[in-house]
Structures are given as structure tokens and as C-alpha cells.
Amino acid sequence: MKLFRSFVKKEFYHIFRDVRTLLILFGLPIALILIFGYVVTSEIKNAKIAILDHSKDEITTEITNKILSSGYFILDENLSTEKQIEEIFKKGEVREVIIFEPGFSANLSKTGQANVQIITDASDANTANLLLNYTRAIIQDYTLSLNKGPNLNIKIIAQTRMLYNEELKGVYMFVPGTMALILLLVSAMMTSISIAREKEMGTMEVMLVSPLKPLQIILGKVTPYFVLSFINAITILILGYFVFGMPIKGSLILLLGESMLFILMALSLGILISTVSPNQQVAMFISMMALMLPTILLSGFIFPIENMPIPLQIISHIMPARWFIVILKNVMLKGTGLLFVWKESLILIGMTLIFITLSVKKFKVRLE
């Protein structure tokens, strides 16, 4: 036992001496949360538009003003010919062009009809859709205000209540997602690199002939990363709670317990990766390419799983991060207890056992 303890101490020293890596390990979750919280958003703000106004009369000016004062749009340029439309899109700054036909007000009073054309750059289909909807809503609102007859002013008012997330804070998605990503990366990637390093440097054999049992070696290597990941998890939760107002409606103990379960799963995955990696570079690339990108994209972190094609939805079932995010959201936002998330927890336990079994098998094969 004493031997084990000194081994674990040595592993801690390794990590703490490498100040740069340590800074990154603690700085990464903080940076990610800050970026998600303060920097990136899929909402529309300051979208640059261009206006081709053939009439330049009272009404078109009023509509233009309403659009520009909405806060979503910024006027980039006033165009004068149709030809300029393609040019300005190609420059890449403008996302939407609004075209008013000539004689707008005149047509409106004479025939009761006037035409406006909205062209959006739909290469980013999502933003284009949102921009179009906002523009349309503003114009339609204005149109309704022109019509005062009782027969035309029939309105169905839809009151929307956003449940669990009144203000549509992006936080609610990204705190669980960031937790899953960071824990996975720190635990799985670091563990796999650390063990692969011993292999590459040849020091693994030195350890194997020492009185330490293989199980102790693995546990010793893994313990510091368990501690680090746990600290990371708490950091993320604290940041989320205090800085961004992410609620923790459910039991904190359950939350921490599930986090530890996920960390264990990630550690066992890291061990498994190290058994198939002859050196650090391979371990790193496998962890990164096979873990990071799919986790970000398939776990429901940014893109909702229900919208993906069926084969991908099936694949997302084997992404551990997916289940952990569900657990986190349920416990933190809905305040549910273990009974609600027992299924997902069981899946995580199962995955951990599978990874450990596979690792042990591979390890034994190597020793023979």
C-alpha cells in the first residue's frame, strides 16, 4: 500500500511540474465556458443588409427605418442597380438584400398592392431563415398597421411560454455539453497519452518488473486524472451557476455522483485507447479524432439529435457523452431524481465495464 501511495505521488509530481499543461487543463474549461457564454451565439445580431430602393418614398423609408431600428440589422450599403446585388453578396459581408419596386407608395394607394423582394444569402441556411422571418415579421406588422378596417384586423395571438429556460439562455445547453466534453478529453485523452508515453519511452517495462502489480500501475496512473477531472467538473458547475445562472434544481450529490461515474467511464476509455496505441502521437490522434469531433457533433451538444438522419441517431447511442448530457439536463434543469435517470446511468456503468474488460484482455495479451 505504501508502494502504491508513493507511485501515485510520483504521478502527481509529473503533472504538477508541467506547469504549461496544468494551466491548459484548468484553463480550457474556463475558456470554453466563457466562449460559449459570452462570445458565440446562434442568435441574430448586427446582420449586414443592403437595400435597393427604386422608389425612395415616404413608405419605403419608413419600412427601412423600422427594419434598421430592430437591432437585428445593420445597413451596409444602399444599392442602385440590380447588378450590384451579386457583387455585394460575393464580397461576403452582406447577408440579405431588400428590393423595393419603383412607385411603391403610388402603387399601394392606387391598386392596394405593392411588391417588395427579399433575397437572402442562403449559404448559411439557418441564419438566412431567421433573417427572412424577422424581416417578414417587421414588414407584415407594418402592413397590418396600414389596414384599419375591422374585417381585416382579425388576430390570433399566440402566447409562448418557454419551459425550463424562460430566457432562452444558451447556457442550458452548453454547460452540460462542456462538462461532457472536458471530462471526456481530460480523463480519456490525458490518461491514454500518459500510459502511451511510458510505452514509448520504454519505462513501462521498468514498472512491470517492479513489485507493483499491473492493476496498481493502472490505478496509480489514473488517480491523478480522476482528481483533476473532478476539480474541472466542479469548476464548470461553479462557473455555470454563479456567472451564468445555470440552476441546479436537483440533488447536488446525485449530480456529483453521476459526474464521477462519467469520469470513471472516460478513464477506462482512456486506458483502452492506450492499449492499442504504440506511442503518444497515436493515442492523441485517436482520442482527438475518434472522440472529440463526434462528441461535439453527435451528442446533442450543439445540434439536436432528433434532426439527424436515422443512422446517425443510432450511432449517437454509443456516444457516452449523449447519455451524460441527458442526465445532467434532467437533474440540473428539471430537478429529477435517480429514478428518472436510472436508465442512462446504467448505460454509463455498462460502458465502463465493457471498456475495463476489453482493456484487461488486451493488456494480458501483451504480457503473454
Binding site: 427572412l132 417578414r136 402592413t143 375591422p150 382579425i154 492523441m284 475518434a290
Partner: protein, 372 residues
């Protein structure tokens, strides 16, 4: 010059002899590209909804009918009980509850105004916003129907109507993949290029072979170029491979000039790989390099506009993006492919990256010490 060729040749031999890494470098990114492009979509399909109709009138049924007819919505449950509907939502079996209170038809016909309620699971703020948008436009559609019906029954004296015609350029089918593929491809080539380059240099340090290099008359810039070139080639090759897949499997448009794209990509990669090399010159172990490079890459990518528009970022972040090569690349690759932008449209970005490349490679060469 000969020296550089010798270094490049050695690097290529080593890369291709490394049997474990070859599939990781060449196969894995392509598999990822194929799989992940399908995942990155905000397209809403199958919004599961619950209908609580407490009016049971012909108008309420017509409103519900509009939802039934919409390709976006699937009505999973019809119920009277508000509580049952909310339990359903809580269990994630539906995302939206449409609540039509009793008296809906009466209010609509007598008071010209009626209320309905939409309860949306807003944990995912983005999709909740979209769901709200879609549901609101179905309701607005129905609203219009009611108005038109009324007009036909009671023609008005005057009426103003602004017709809105809209069109989506460059992507009329609103296909998210053509936007995401260049983005994901960009991440992949950055990942491969930056990491391979950075790890390669620091591994020579760790293994000790760098001493033989330092004791030889190789000039610093020769060494840096020799370490840069092979991985630049590999990254460009991946770009070509990825674009081919994009064309063949996803049919992405390629409106602009491909040579221009590759020229721009080369300059971008010089910056990305240069950053990797610079980090290498500052570190002594592979682990350190991996982590620092990883950190830099994640921040760059998140802020590059790959998933979310850069204009929506706070001003200070947009200014910081001047230092973010990925932001330039994401913007330009989409501009060239999807809109056919030409050199005159991107020359500013091109010049900026060129200057950036010269600075970072200069820094890396300067920081690399043959003499300790």
C-alpha cells in the same frame, strides 16, 4: 536548396513508413467528414407536439388541421388534460404543447381576437426559438386564412397589402450540408496539419535526433521549411480529397475558382502549421505541445464562425478574430465555393494571412535554437 530536399525526403519516408498513423491521417478524417456532415444540421424535422383542445370547435379543428398538414410537426398526443400534456413534455416525448382554450371560436368570431398558448421545451434555446418560429408561422398562416375567408364574406372598402416575394440565393434547397462540409473539412485539415507538424518537431527533441541536426551546418530556415512542407502537402491533399467527396457524395456547389481556393488554403495552412511549429519551439515534450496546440485550436475554431455567425459575437471578440486564422479560412472557403467569390473579393483576407504567415514563421525560425 538541396538540403531542404533531403529533409523533405526523409520526412516523407518516415510518414509513409509509419503504418499505424497512415489510416489515422488519411482514412479517419474522411470517415469523420462523411458521418459528421450529416449530423450538423439545424433543420427541423419531426417536431413532436401535444394538442390540448378545450374548445373542440370547427375553428379549433381547422387550426389543428393546419399543424397536421405541416411537414414539420407530428402530433403525438391529443388530450384534454393539461397535466398529462406537461408530463409528456417532461418525459421528452414531445417538444411543444398547443393549448387551445375553450371559447376560442366564440372569441374569434365575436371579438375578432383569440388566444392560444404554446408551451415549448426550451432547454435547447436554439431549437426552441426555431420551433417557436415554425409554430408561429403555421398559426400566422391560419390567421391569414381566416382573414381571407372574412374578406370574401364582407368585402372591405379599402385595403393595403404588401406582397413579399422572397428567394434564397446560392442554396435554394436550404441544404445545411453545403454550409457545414467546408466548415468540418476546414477543422479536419487544421487538426491534421497543425498537430502533425507540431508533434513532429518536438518528437525529434524528445528522441534526441535533433542534436545531430543542430550539430550539422543546416540553416534554421532550411530546417523549418523542411519540417513544414510535407505536412502542408498532406493537408492540401486532404482538402482535395474532402472536396472530391463533397462533390461526389454531397454535390456541393463549386462556383468559384478551385486554384484560388487552394492558394488561399496554402497560405492559411502556413499560418496554422506555423503556429504549431512555434509552439513546438517553446516546448520540450509531446504532451505539452499536444495540449497547448489543442487549446489554441479549440478557441480558434469555436470563434471562427463555423457553427455560429461571427457578426453576432460581441465587438471585442470580432476584433480578437483578427488573430484567428480559422476565421479567415471559414469565411473564404464558403465564399469561394458557395458564391463564386473571386480574388478581388478576398484579397484583404489573403494579404492579412500572408503577413500573419511571415510573422509566425519568422518567430518560429527565430525561436528555434541550434545552440542552447
Amino acid at each position: 536548396m538541396n538540403t531542404i530536399i533531403h529533409i523533405i525526403r526523409k520526412e516523407f519516408i518516415q510518414i509513409f513508413r509509419n503504418k499505424t498513423m497512415l489510416p489515422i491521417i488519411f482514412l479517419l478524417p474522411i470517415v469523420q467528414l462523411l458521418v459528421l456532415v450529416f449530423a450538423a444540421t439545424f433543420e427541423m424535422k419531426n417536431i413532436n407536439m401535444v394538442v390540448v383542445d378545450q374548445d373542440l370547435s370547427s375553428e379549433s379543428r381547422q387550426l389543428i388541421g393546419k399543424f397536421k398538414g405541416s411537414p414539420f410537426f407530428q402530433i403525438q398526443l391529443n388530450t384534454f388534460s393539461q397535466k398529462e400534456a406537461e408530463e409528456f413534455l417532461k418525459a421528452d416525448k414531445a417538444d411543444l404543447i398547443l393549448n387551445i382554450p375553450s371559447g376560442f371560436e366564440r372569441n374569434l368570431l365575436k371579438e375578432n381576437s383569440a388566444n392560444v398558448q404554446l408551451l415549448i421545451n426550451a432547454i435547447n434555446g436554439t431549437t426552441a426559438g426555431l420551433t417557436n418560429g415554425y409554430a408561429s408561422s403555421v398559426i400566422a398562416d391560419y390567421n391569414r386564412d381566416v382573414i381571407i375567408e372574412n374578406i370574401n364574406l364582407n368585402p372591405p372598402s379599402s385595403q393595403s397589402n404588401v406582397n413579399i416575394e422572397y428567394s434564397f440565393w446560392y442554396n435554394p434547397e436550404m441544404n445545411y450540408k453545403i454550409y457545414m462540409l467546408p466548415g468540418i473539412l476546414g477543422i479536419l485539415i487544421t487538426l491534421i496539419g497543425m498537430f502533425l507538424t507540431a508533434l513532429n518537431l518536438v518528437r525529434e527533441k524528445e528522441m534526441g535526433t535533433i542534436e545531430q541536426i543542430n550539430v550539422s551546418p543546416i540553416k534554421k530556415y532550411q530546417f523549418i521549411v523542411g519540417k513544414l512542407f510535407p505536412f502542408l502537402c498532406i493537408a492540401l491533399f486532404e482538402l482535395a480529397f474532402g472536396l472530391t467527396i463533397g462533390k461526389v457524395i454531397f454535390n456541393i456547389p463549386m462556383l468559384g475558382s478551385l486554384p484560388l481556393l487552394f492558394l488561399f488554403a496554402s497560405v492559411y495552412l502556413l499560418v496554422a502549421l506555423g503556429i504549431g511549429l512555434f509552439v513546438s519551439t517553446l516546448s520540450s515534450t509531446q504532451q505539452q505541445v499536444m495540449f497547448v496546440t489543442f487549446f489554441i485550436m479549440i478557441v480558434f475554431i469555436m470563434m471562427s464562425g463555423i457553427f455560429t455567425p461571427t457578426e453576432s459575437m460581441p465587438v471585442w471578440a470580432q476584433r480578437a478574430n483578427v488573430m484567428n486564422p480559422a476565421a479567415y479560412f471559414m469565411r473564404v472557403i464558403r465564399m469561394i465555393l458557395l458564391k463564386g467569390s473571386g480574388f478581388m473579393d478576398i484579397w484583404k483576407s489573403f494579404a492579412s494571412l500572408l503577413i500573419y504567415a511571415i510573422i509566425i514563421l519568422g518567430l518560429a525560425t527565430w525561436k528555434y535554437r541550434k545552440i542552447a
